[in-house]
């Protein structure tokens, strides 16, 4: 059973996750720092509040599923799965090391990972198929996927979005980690996808906006699923790339920047201070 955690406890947990994301990226000298920090609160609430899945139920056909479409921010997923006990956290010491299963994108060789992702624009189709299977089998599980705003120009997303509404997949929830930055610059400048809410609504989805770092808002949005019967749900989570480390926030270089020793120390110091204020 999932331990019931308060909003405050979850907020504290997020700070710890941020520190671990930075630790393992710093150690591996590789990783997608900014995006992992932007989606971590979403994953925190999914795995510690919303989803009916844990190490003991991962093989159950009735478990809720999470498929990470923006696979490159795998560090966020790994630290959450480790904290839920899917594997020993010490495994993450091998992140991106020779012969490790803990590669830079999600892989099913890591317990708790549902699908091998990383090429963008794949998660939504995989989620649609899994959600259709749930409907066919009359199972109650739900399927969650986190999309990046930078991957939305992949046409396969829109093929999948059509299928999701065509099949009335109200057991499917996509969360858009809208941190507004991608590797070449602002998403609005690279290939504008706004108004993304209207686009998804036109594709037959029920859409809500949340502050993607407000634990309470995330909890409330997930608790309200499905937003409309017979429609897939989209949560547009407005997030900040690099959230929680002031010098990383909204800075493009931290898309896959790796902190040096001083930067790492500064980041941990800032998060330690935040942890004290939340205690």
């Amino acid at each position: 059973m999932l331990e019931v955690m308060s909003e405050k406890e979850l907020a504290q947990k997020s700070v710890g996750y941020r520190k671990k994301i930075l630790k393992y990226i710093y150690q591996a000298k590789a990783g997608h720092t900014g995006g992992s920090l932007s989606c971590i609160d979403i994953l925190n609430v999914l795995y510690n509040h919303t989803m009916n899945v844990g190490p003991g139920t991962f093989d159950s056909p009735d478990r809720d599923r999470y498929i990470q479409s923006k696979g490159h921010t795998v560090e966020a997923l790994y630290v959450v799965l480790a904290s839920r006990g899917f594997f020993p956290e010490s495994d993450l010491e091998t992140l991106c090391k020779y012969q490790s299963h803990y590669i830079g994108h999600p892989t099913r060789k890591v317990r708790g990972v549902e699908q091998n992702t990383g090429a963008l624009g794949h998660g939504l189709s995989l989620s649609v198929g899994t959600a259709i299977a749930g409907k066919l089998d009359k199972r109650d599980y739900r399927v969650f996927t986190v999309l990046g705003d930078g991957e939305l120009p992949e046409g396969s997303n829109w093929e999948a979005a059509l299928s999701a509404s065509h099949y009335k997949l109200d057991n499917l929830c996509a969360i858009l980690d809208k941190n507004t930055l991608q590797i070449s610059g602002p998403t609005s400048a690279v290939c504008n996808t706004d108004p993304v809410d209207e686009k998804f609504e036109a594709f037959g989805w029920a859409v809500r906006h949340v502050d993607g770092h407000d634990i309470g808002e995330l909890m409330a949005a997930f608790d309200a699923l499905p937003f409309e019967e017979d429609k897939p749900s989209l949560i547009i989570a407005h997030t900040v790339k690099g959230k929680g480390v002031s010098y990383m926030e909204n800075q493009l270089k931290w898309h896959h920047g790796v902190p040096d020793k001083q930067e790492y120390a500064d980041a941990i110091q800032e998060l330690d201070a935040l942890e004290v204020t939340l205690a």
Binding site: P61, R108, E114, Q115, N116, T117, G118, A119, G121, H122, L124, S125, L126, S127, V128, G129, T130, A131, I132, A133, G134, L136, D137, G155, S156, E159, A160, L162, S163, H166, Y167
Partner: protein, 320 residues
């Protein structure tokens, strides 16, 4: 006058129809059999399947990437999924989904490439799949199959439904003659010797095995050359044991495929032979690296020598 496939296949059906019939048979007792189509139920002969099992057919519209991704999601939830789409689109447009969502993620989807090779004839290069063996051979964790006749097609579909590995099966829409009344074994990765000979070997796959058999008869009749004919229905994993036995005779080998001469059956066989110190005289027949001639499948086959006369001539060139 050359013999033709048409005048010896009268009692048989197109492999595509056998595929559809076999799936219906499976679906009668197995509700986990799911067909996913991209507006291809008509061309896939799946209209009767859809009428009988409306809850077991998922239509995604003309969207091949989504077809494969959705199929992978269904398979991950325990469904036995047949993703059916023209081979040309399935294996080019959705190649990344095949590579990542099916093979790499180990979701055991059965990818069915219909109207493969040059089956679409004069519709032209957009609708031809002459690349699929080559690209799919390089993807780990995928069985690649081209059944030759109705028997092989039925067996391949039955085996695919039960295997826990991803499988790609491609076939055409022409009536195909039965290759052999006697040879009734079929397993993935094991080529079938459908004609025993003593002077040379012709290795075909899919719809080229039938003309290879006709060519072997012609060689016997007109030139007293006795050719073995193999249906190498599985391109990957290739039957190295059979190849070794064939090559050990030292006799000539001709390969014939409805595919580019690059990267398919022929080059797979050649790679094995040369790396194992076999130096048999060797010829790869297929579609050359050029703008494919316009015509029906039969006309294209004849143009490039994938015919009774063309294969026999190539064989003669090696034997003499």
């Amino acid at each position: 006058m050359d013999a033709t496939i048409e005048n010896i296949a009268v009692s048989q059906r197109a492999n595509l129809e056998v595929f559809s019939g076999t799936l219906q048979h499976l679906a009668q007792t197995d509700r986990d059999i799911i067909v996913v189509t991209s507006d291809s139920r008509g061309s896939g002969k799946l209209v009767p399947f859809g009428q009988k099992f409306p809850e077991q057919i998922i239509e995604v519209g003309i969207a091949e990437q989504n077809l494969v991704g959705v199929a992978a999601g269904l398979a991950s939830a325990g469904k036995k999924v047949f993703a059916v789409s023209p081979a040309c689109f399935l294996t080019a447009r959705a190649l990344e989904q095949i590579k990542n969502d099916v093979a790499y993620s180990d979701n055991p989807v059965k990818l069915i490439g219909i109207s493969a090779g040059v089956s679409y004839g004069a519709l032209g290069s957009t609708h031809h799949s002459l690349h699929d063996f080559a690209v799919l051979r390089t993807i780990n964790n995928l069985i690649v199959v081209a059944p030759a006749d109705n028997f092989e097609t039925e067996q391949a579909v039955l085996l695919a439904a039960e295997t826990d590995m991803p499988v790609y099966i491609r076939f055409g829409k022409k009536q195909m003659p039965l290759l052999s009344e006697e040879e009734k074994t079929f397993e993935f990765g094991k080529g079938r010797v459908v004609r025993e000979g003593s002077d040379m070997t012709i290795i075909g796959t899919g719809e080229t095995v039938a003309p290879a058999l006709l060519a072997a008869d012609k060689l016997e009749r007109e030139h007293h050359i006795s050719a073995t004919v193999v249906s190498m229905h599985t391109i990957k994993p290739l039957d190295y044991d059979l190849l070794r036995n064939i090559a050990a005779s030292g006799q000539p080998v001709v390969t014939v495929e409805e595919h580019s001469v690059y990267g398919g059956l022929g080059e797979a066989c050649a790679s094995f032979l040369i790396q194992n110190d076999f130096h048999n005289r060797f010829k790869i027949m297929g579609i050359p690296d050029e703008y494919t001639v316009t015509g029906s499948q039969t006309e294209i086959f004849n143009h490039y020598g994938i015919s009774e006369g063309g294969i026999a001539a190539a064989a003669l060139g090696l034997v003499r």
